[in-house]
Amino acid sequence: MIEFANVSKTYGHTADAPKALDDVSLRIGSGELVVLIGGSGSGKSTLLKMINRMEQPDTGTVALDGQDMVHMPLRELRLRMGYVIQSVGLFPHWTVARNIGVVPTMLGWKPERIAARVTELLSLFDLDPTTYGPRYPHQLSGGQQQRVGVARALAGDPEVLLMDEPFGALDPLIRTALQDEVKRIHQASGKTIVMVTHDIDEALRLGTQIVLLEQGRIVQVGSPLALLSQPANKQVADFIGRSDVGIKLLSLQSAGSLARVEAPQSTPFLPASASLREAVSTLALHGCQSLNLLDDTGAHAGVLHATDLFNRRHTGSLPLSDDQGQHA
C-alpha cells in the first residue's frame, strides 16, 4: 500500500512559483491499477516519481506499507519497484536479454535464473527469445522497444510497477495491444500498478481507480464508472468529454454481460469479451440487430440484441458491474 499524506512540492524558489503538488493525500491499495490523469502541469508525473523517490516532497510524507519512505535505503526501494518511462531508455549498448536481466543481476540472482526469467518475459510479450534476446535495442520497432521496457521493469518481480506515460509515443494500434498486455499482466499477477497518462480512454480502459489531477490538486478519485457517471464537477466532465460519455460507458462493459441464451443466428460474430462499444460498432457496420457471441475457445456463448443495449440506456439505469443483467 502506498500512502501520500499532505504532500506539497514547488519547483523553483520564487514566492509566486506555481505548486507542482498542493496538499495531496492519496491511498493506493495493493493490487490496484491506479491511473493518474490530468493535463500538462497537473502534477501527475511528479506524484508518480515520488513513489520511487525520483522526486522528494517539500512537505508531507509518502509511505510504503505504513513505513515513511524517507527512512528507506534508496537503492533497495527502487529495486523493489519496476519503472517504465515514455522514452523507454533501454541501454543501447546492451542486448535485449541483458537489458531485461539488469535488475535481477543487481539483485544477485544466479545466471541460470536470470536467463530463465528473460526467456519467460520475452515470451510473455510475444517476442521470440532466441530471435530477440541477442538483438540490440535499435534493431527493434518502437512498440517492441517498449515491450522490452516493460519486461525489464517486471524482471525483478517488483511489488509495484510505475509507468510514466508508457505508451504515449506509440501509434494507436500498438498502444491498444500493449494496454491489453498490461491489463492481462495486472490481472494475472495482482501487482500494484501506478500509471500516468493524459489519455482518458487509456485511463478508462485500464484503471481500477482513476485519480484526476489539476494544477497540483486532486479533483476526483474513483472507479472509471464513478468518474463517468458522477463527475465531481464541470472540470471533470469537461476532461472526460461530455459528448460521448454514453459511448465511453459502453466501453466499460463486456458484450457477454448482455448475452441472451439463444441458438446461434445468421448474424456476425464477436468475442464475448469485447466491449459493448465494439458491439455497437459491429452492429452499425453490418446494419443488423443482433450478434453471435463467442467465448475464448470459439464456442457459441449466446446472442447479443441491439434492443437490450439501448433499452438499458433508455431506462437510464447505469451498468454497475459485468455480472448484473447477465441473462445466462
Binding site: R78, P92, V102, Q139
Partner: protein, 366 residues
C-alpha cells in the same frame, strides 16, 4: 627528380620524360590508363582497376626514382645528391587521394584498406631496408644520422606519450566535472580556448620563465628534469594544447548519453557508480576517444616545435635542415611525423569503431 653536385646547391630538375625508357614505359602506360579510368563509369571493376593501377604506379615511381639515383651517383662524384622532385611528391599525394577516393566508393572494409596500404608501403619499405634507395639524398641524410635517428623518433614519441598521459589524467576528470557542474565548464572553456589561440612558440617562451624559476627555487625539481628548456616545458605546453579537445570530447560524450537512459537507470535502482561505469562510460567512450584522437594527432605535429626549446625529437632534424637549407634533412624529420600522425589516426579510428557496439551502421546481420 633533382640532381645536384652537393647537398647545398638546389640542383637541376630531371623530368619523368627524360627517364622514359625500358620499364618506365610501363609506368607511363599505367598513368594514361589511370586517366582513362577516371572517365569510366564508377563500376566496382573499374574502381578496383583504379586501385591496382594507382598502387603499382606509386610503388613503381619510387623504385624508378631510386634506380635513377643509383645510376647518377655511379656516373659522378660521391658528393652528388639526387633528391625526389616536387613532381614526384605531388604525384604520390594525388595517387593517395585517388586510392582513398576509390576505396571510399568501394566502401572497402578496414581489412581491404590495410591490404592496399601494405601493398604500397611494403615494397617501398623493403627497397629502403635493402639499400636499393641508398643513393637518394634523403637516404644519404639518414645514413649520416642513422645511429641517432631511431633515438630521435623514440624521443618524439616520448614527448607525445608523456603529454597525452598528463592530458588524460587532467582532461578526463575535468571533462567529467564540466558535465557535472555547469559552472566548471563556464570557467574552464574560455581559459582553454585562450590557451589554444596562443602561438606554440610563444607558449614555450611563456613557460620557460616560470619553470626556470621553479627549478632554481627547488633544486630537487631541477634534478627531476624540470627546467626552463628541454622536455618539461615542451610536454607541459603540449598538455595545455591537448586539454581543450579532450575536455570538449569528454563533455560532448557525456552530454550525448540519452537522458532517458540515465533516468531509467536511476529509476531501476542503479547506484551512482553503476550508472557511471555501466551506462555513461561505455556510451560516452566513442565521442571521448574522438577528442583524444584529435589531441593526439595535434600533439604529434606540435611536438616538432618543442625542438626549438631543446626538447629534442624529430623537430630537431627538421629545424637543423631548415637552418642549414638542407631540404632532405627537413624531409627526414617531416616524413616520420606524417607517418606517426597517420598511424595514430588509424589506431584511434579502429578503437572508436570497436567501442561503438550498438549504432545502426554496426548492425550485425541477423
Amino acid at each position: 627528380m633533382r640532381v645536384a653536385p652537393n647537398r647545398l646547391v638546389s640542383g637541376e630538375a630531371v623530368s619523368f620524360f627524360d627517364l622514359l625508357q625500358g620499364s618506365a614505359w610501363g609506368l607511363a602506360v599505367l598513368l594514361i590508363g589511370l586517366l582513362l579510368l577516371s572517365l569510366a563509369p564508377p563500376r566496382r571493376i573499374c574502381l578496383w582497376l583504379t586501385v591496382v593501377a594507382a598502387t603499382v604506379l606509386a610503388v613503381g615511381l619510387g623504385i624508378q626514382a631510386a634506380n635513377h639515383a643509383t645510376q647518377v651517383v655511379q656516373a659522378s662524384t660521391p658528393f652528388a645528391r639526387t633528391a625526389l622532385g616536387s613532381g614526384l611528391w605531388l604525384v604520390w599525394l594525388l595517387l593517395g587521394l585517388v586510392l582513398a577516393d576509390a576505396l571510399q566508393a568501394l566502401r572497402a572494409g578496414t581489412l581491404a584498406r590495410l591490404g592496399v596500404a601494405t601493398a604500397v608501403l611494403l615494397p617501398l619499405g623493403l627497397m629502403l631496408v635493402s639499400g636499393g634507395a641508398d643513393e637518394l639524398s634523403i637516404m644519404k641524410e639518414y645514413a649520416n644520422r642513422s645511429d641517432e635517428y631511431w633515438g630521435v623518433i623514440a624521443r618524439h614519441c616520448q614527448i607525445v606519450a608523456l603529454a597525452l598521459l598528463f592530458t588524460l589524467a587532467i582532461g578526463l576528470p575535468l571533462g567529467w566535472a564540466t558535465h557535472r557542474y555547469v559552472r566548471v565548464g563556464r570557467a574552464m572553456f574560455p581559459l582553454l580556448n585562450i590557451v589554444q589561440t596562443i602561438p606554440s612558440i610563444a607558449l614555450f617562451g611563456l613557460l620557460m620563465a616560470p619553470l626556470a624559476w621553479l627549478a632554481a627555487s627547488w633544486p630537487a625539481l631541477g634534478r627531476a628534469g624540470i627546467s626552463g628548456v628541454g622536455l618539461a616545458p615542451g610536454v607541459l605546453a603540449l598538455t595545455l594544447y591537448s586539454l581543450l579537445p579532450v575536455v570538449r570530447g569528454t563533455l560532448a560524450g557525456l552530454a550525448q548519453v540519452p537522458s532517458a537512459v540515465t533516468q531509467a537507470a536511476q529509476g531501476l535502482g542503479f547506484s551512482p557508480a553503476q550508472l557511471f561505469w555501466q551506462a555513461q562510460v561505455p556510451l560516452a567512450l566513442p565521442v571521448v576517444l574522438s577528442g583524444v584522437r584529435i589531441a593526439s594527432i595535434q600533439a604529434v605535429g606540435l611536438a616538432a616545435v618543442t625542438a626549438l626549446i631543446g626538447a629534442g625529437g624529430l623537430g630537431s632534424l627538421m629545424f637543423e635542415g631548415l637552418f642549414s637549407s638542407a631540404q632532405d634533412l627537413v624531409l627526414l624529420g617531416v616524413v616520420p611525423i606524417v607517418a606517426l600522425g597517420v598511424l595514430v589516426d588509424g589506431v584511434f579510428k579502429l578503437l572508436i569503431a570497436r567501442t561503438r557496439p550498438a549504432t545502426p551502421n554496426m548492425e550485425s546481420a541477423h
